[in-house]
């Protein structure tokens, strides 16, 4: 790998590679802003941030999982379940805070279950979480009877976490995104457990030799994913004011795309929180921009796919060239 310390010399190829995602964000933003003036209004910018929020929470969790060398396909179904559960509990007259707490704890418990399958039973994580995805989708269908659940009157404070505005302009989900984004960066890049997560993902055998409990670190990653699913679920429910069995589906592939797109930001192919956050913003800008400029909605999915392929493809080629041109 050619990650020279670029303090002395500016290396264009390396910079291009490391900041490609950020450049994409700026480029897309400028294009949309020049086509549609209201795109760059403060209100729309916050709108974009709001759209990135739930996506960001889920993608940050997935970043932990991929960094530790595993995968989770159940996160969308789990967060849907947590959201649906919170609405259902409120409809049954459960106290607001208790409902939120129970839903988040349910997310954590499901994360533990995934962790158990992978770490204790030794199941491949893709299959373990695929199973849970199907189960939780079914459970959400059962709870909602296949329709959208909503209460006629929600308790006071229900809107606080998903629908209200801080200082009258910042949508509350953005606060969660900001909070967990900062925590995610600190945790993965500056904490001991974060360092261990990367070491287990990078070389589990070497990690074992160093005395790191590989199983514990993997389990922790699944628990974190579960926690973020829980939070994303209740925020989603508050944001929509309702719960339906497919409310989280739309986040499944964008969150995966954001995680892997983010891996080419700053680091060469290592999933990281900062990259994930920037990538979520890219996807949110795309989504919002196409709506604002009246481009047919399907274009968002097509462009989103191309952005991933081009960014990761470019980094792969540059890395291959560096490897061939460098040492034997």
């Amino acid at each position: 790998m050619l990650e020279k310390v670029g303090r002395k010399k500016f290396n264009f190829a390396v910079s291009l590679r490391r900041y490609a995602v950020l450049a994409t964000l700026v480029l897309l933003f400028s294009i949309f802003a020049s086509v549609e003036r209201s795109f760059s209004d403060a209100q729309n910018i916050f709108n974009i941030l709001r759209q990135a929020s739930v996506l960001g929470l889920l993608a940050l969790g997935l970043t932990c999982i991929v960094s530790v060398g595993e995968f989770d396909i159940s996160f969308a179904a789990v967060s849907t379940f947590c959201g649906v559960l919170s609405i259902s509990l409120l409809m049954h007259g459960v106290n607001l805070y208790a409902a939120w707490m129970i839903s988040i704890v349910a997310g954590v418990a499901l994360g533990c279950l995934n962790g158990f399958d992978v770490v204790v039973l030794g199941m491949p994580s893709f299959i373990a979480t695929l199973g849970l995805q199907s189960i939780m989708f079914g459970v959400s269908l059962y709870i909602t009877a296949g329709t959208t659940l909503y209460a006629a009157v929600y308790p006071a404070g229900f809107e606080a976490i998903g629908r209200s505005f801080i200082f009258g302009i910042i949508p509350s989900p953005v606060i969660w995104f900001l909070l967990f984004g900062v925590l995610g960066i600190l945790f993965l890049e500056f904490s001991r457990t974060g360092r261990y997560i990367y070491s287990v993902g990078g070389n589990p055998e070497a990690a074992t030799h160093v005395g790191i409990d590989v199983r514990r670190i993997k389990f922790i990653s699944f628990v974190i994913m579960g926690l973020l699913c829980g939070v994303a679920g209740v925020v989603m429910a508050s944001m929509f004011g309702s719960g339906n069995p497919s409310m989280g589906d739309g986040y499944l592939s964008p969150a995966i795309i954001a995680t892997f797109l983010g891996a080419v930001f700053l680091k060469d192919g290592l999933t990281n929180s900062r990259g994930t956050i920037v990538a979520c913003l890219v996807l949110a800008v795309l989504q919002n921009g196409f709506v604002m400029t009246n481009v047919p909605y399907f274009m968002k999915d097509i462009v989103q796919g191309f952005v991933l392929l081009i960014a990761v493809g470019m980094v792969s080629v540059l890395k291959k060239q560096a490897a061939e041109g460098g040492k034997i």
């Binding site: 790998m1 600190l186 001991r192 360092r195 030799h209």
Partner: protein
């Protein structure tokens, strides 16, 4: 039959240089039609590089390869195969879910109407098996076969290509005596058909049973080639080991402290059969043995990476149980520097800083459990720049992959030096793949750790001179147990090697 002198393959002055290491130096080597030419030598003598040059995995830096009298360049094993050079590797390369016959026909399946014709495939494999008189089950999934059947299927698969030269790399490594006899029958049959065989081994007894000629390699040079009948075993051993003892090794006797390791009857139910070993504080103990003798397995038992079925291990008088995972051992000051740095030692995606500090992150904990980056940098620099290690690097934020082999090894060692409470260090092939100068530094480091800091060191190596130079005591391991032990005053290369073979 074997006396024909037609050369199948000839190497003229072949040299292969890797950065920092000359793996083969001006080697002249040839193989005749219908002979078994054994290549012997210690680990790292250049045997595998020789094969890799012949099969086109490596291109020689200098020199020529002649195939049936014509100079050729082989760029890829598939080119070698189409010329008629087939190799059976030491590691098994079978597809476990396919049967023996399917494995043999892999890549040249018989088809009928676009579908694989299983019965023709089976009869083809059977015919091949009968021709060479092999014993191998063809209708059983390869994954369910024993070592000897798997080996035979690999050989049959190589024979499908009707090679004129067959290279067998340590073919007897995992076989018992009966299986070896069967294997040799097959090899003799192949040879009678006119195929030349290169037989790589370090088990001399077997070599003498099968070889027509023997070439001895040492340190990348060919020492001798002679007819097997004309080379007696003692001379052969002397050729393998006869190296000058240079000033390379800095031995000063250190004062021996309390017993730090006490292993009794350690068995893992597979390879290890009752290993007894003691190491005292301030002592460097070497384990010499051939690959497969159980050296690495023993190291893994000590580090808590491998389960035992019987025997006890005590560190500092405290009994270790099976449940004491690596983390528990490192807490007690027992560290392993594994062989195969790239795979087991380094985090290649990490920087030098991250690779070094990984073992003592808990001492860098700051507010909210975050790592104190400044302190981390300072500690890492202190360790790497210290008199004992002095790693040469540009910046601790460099990727660790940019360092040379020797410096990578020092980073791995530095990891444990930085961690307080180091008492016992297990080093598995600590100088593998690093250059001479760096080796010397590693030896110095080992002596310093033992003498100045009273650390007990267990050094596993297949390079005997290195052990002779640096150890206070050498234990020889053979077939899963300690076969002999030599104190420094009694060191004798020949005796040690004889006990290992």
């Amino acid at each position: 039959m074997a006396e024909t002198t037609e050369l199948v393959l000839e190497l003229r002055g072949v040299t292969k240089v890797f950065p920092g290491i000359v793996a083969l130096s001006d080697v002249h080597f040839d193989v005749r039609k219908g002979e078994v030419h054994a290549v012997v030598g210690e680990n790292g003598a250049g045997k595998s590089t020789l094969c890799n040059v012949i099969t086109g995995i490596f291109q020689p830096t200098r020199g020529a390869v002649l195939w049936r009298g014509k100079p050729i360049e082989i760029h890829h094993p598939s080119e070698a195969l189409s010329l008629g050079i087939a190799m059976v590797y030491q590691e098994r390369n079978l597809i476990p879910s396919l049967t023996g016959a399917q494995n043999i026909c892999l890549g040249r399946e018989f088809t009928r109407g676009g579908l694989i014709d299983e019965s023709r495939c089976m009869s083809f494999a059977e015919a091949l098996r009968e021709r060479v008189g092999a014993r191998a089950a063809l209708d059983v999934q390869a994954g369910n076969l024993g070592a000897s059947h798997q080996q035979m299927i690999e050989i049959l698969r190589a024979l499908v290509h009707q090679p004129q030269l067959l290279i067998l790399d340590e073919p007897t490594a995992s076989l018992d005596r009966n299986d070896i006899e069967c294997l040799f029958k097959v090899v003799r049959r192949i040879k009678e058909e006119g195929t030349a065989v290169i037989f790589i081994s370090h088990k001399l007894e077997e070599v003498y049973l099968i070889a027509d000629r023997i070439s001895v390699f040492r340190d990348g040079t060919k020492i001798s080639t002679s007819a097997a009948a004309e080379l007696d075993k003692q001379t052969c051993i002397r050729h393998m080991i006869n190296r000058e003892m240079t000033e390379q090794y800095p031995y000063v006797a250190s004062s021996r402290g309390a017993k730090i390791l006490e292993a009794r009857g350690v068995s893992d139910g597979r390879i290890l059969r009752g290993v007894d070993l003691d190491v005292c504080a301030g002592e460097v103990v070497g384990i010499y043995g051939l690959v497969g003798a159980g050296r690495t397995q023993f190291a893994e038992v000590l580090a808590g990476l491998r389960k035992t079925v019987s025997g006890t291990v005590r560190f500092d008088g405290k009994m270790m149980t099976v449940k004491d995972a690596p983390a528990a051992r490192t807490r007690r000051g027992v560290f392993l520097i594994p062989e195969d740095r790239r795979r087991k030692g380094l985090f290649s995606a990490f920087t030098i800083r991250e690779n070094t500090s990984i073992s003592f992150l808990e001492t860098l904990r700051g507010a909210f459990g975050l790592i104190r980056r400044g302190l981390e940098r300072r500690r890492v620099r202190e360790i790497l720049d210290s008199g004992i290690l002095h790693v040469s690097y540009k910046d601790i934020e460099q990727q660790v992959d940019e360092l040379s082999g020797g410096n990578k090894q020092k980073v791995v060692i530095g990891r444990w030096i930085g961690r307080k409470g180091l008492k016992f260090l297990i080093m598995d092939e600590p100088t593998q793949g690093i250059d001479v100068a760096a080796k010397r530094e590693v030896y110095n480091l080992m002596r310093e750790l033992a003498e100045r800091q009273g650390i007990g060191i267990l050094c596993i190596s297949s390079e005997l001179p290195e052990l002779l130079g640096v150890c206070d005591r050498i234990c020889v391991m053979r077939a899963g147990s300690i076969s002999a032990e030599f104190a420094r005053g009694e060191f004798d290369q020949e005796k040690i090697l004889t006990n290992a073979l």
